[in-house]
Symmetry: C2
Subunit: 198 residues, 2 copies
């Protein structure tokens, strides 16, 4: 045998080394040669760790999402009321500090829409399912605690995809200038309807 490198770790290293470059320019203007350069490896080596250019993005999203989820869990758990938890849940779509994640997510959706590849779609599905389960639990807890009416459960899916919709809409138009305000109005109204009146 010869040198054995930690393939998993190196894959992460390469991906993260071009994170800034990628976030700045997006996948379209990121060349594999550039990636190789900033990662300090030869171009051929890139293809030892990634099947294609898209997979690099896939890896970056993967890494950052895991970090993000830990933070998210803490933030949500720290909230008392269900409404606050739900608002926190969608915070990623407008919170200042998550601007990088949004940029990444934008590219990720774009790639997934343009050339869906089994692995990426499956990853996206798993993420989405996990998030949705998490979201449903928040709603269910709200119902159990008597904060929300029973029917709220059926609104879960709609609410869940709404965040994504608002995100895409705001990314592809110039009109929605303040996601946070839009969401707030919506939540206030909806909670007026689904909160159990004391």
């Amino acid at each position: 045998m010869a040198i054995i490198v930690d393939k998993v770790q190196k894959r992460k290293d390469i991906a993260l080394s071009c994170k800034e470059l990628f976030i700045k320019n997006g996948i379209k203007d990121l060349t594999v040669s550039e990636v190789a350069k900033v990662a300090g490896v030869g171009k051929g080596t890139i293809y030892e760790y990634f099947k294609n250019k898209e997979e690099i993005v896939f890896e970056i999203v993967n890494i950052l999402l895991q970090e993000h989820n830990i933070q998210k869990k803490l933030r949500i758990d720290s909230k008392e009321k269900t409404k606050e938890k739900i608002i926190e849940f969608f915070g990623v779509f407008y919170r200042e500090e998550d601007v990088e994640l949004r940029k990444l997510y934008k590219e990720f959706i774009s790639i997934n829409l343009a050339n869906p590849q089994r692995e990426m779609i499956e990853f996206q599905s798993t993420c989405s399912a996990t998030y949705f389960k998490w979201f449903e639990e928040i709603i269910q807890t709200g119902i159990n605690k008597g904060e929300l009416v029973l029917a709220s459960k059926n609104l879960a899916r709609g609410l869940f995809v709404m965040g994504e919709g608002l995100f895409v809409a705001s990314s592809t138009t110039t009109t929605i200038d303040n996601i946070k305000r839009e969401l707030d109005t919506f939540y206030d109204t909806l909670f007026e309807l689904i909160e159990v009146k004391k």
Copy 2:
């Protein structure tokens, strides 16, 4: 002067000639040479009518959307109740006959997310604004007719982007297998909450 061609019409002709090809493969696998071939013109001519490859998609969407809107208007007007109108409004996201339009829209969103260009974003914004105004009118009429509670108005934006969100979500995952059912459950529940009880 010499030959004068109807630039606007020829632009449409070229765009439509490659519609099938584009819907089948998406923009990624569509080459400008191919477009030129099926349009029966030289490659250089394409660039007399379009600034870049993306603009061809832009034109196809534009043409088909206009056709679609006429149909949509008729369909919505034919419905009596507000709930039916709203469901009809989002029909494009699951209706069998609109499968082409969805494929186009998917590519369109993808392009807009990956390399936003002023003209396309503005077009998208205008479309979106028009649709939203239309949607708000439906809600407002519902309120005026006493079918919906006043608060429904504030839910308009949320409902509006939800359609888009569900569409994107279903395009990028494998889990949502039946958009129609998901939407129906959501609407039924929501209308249970916002409909004025007689």
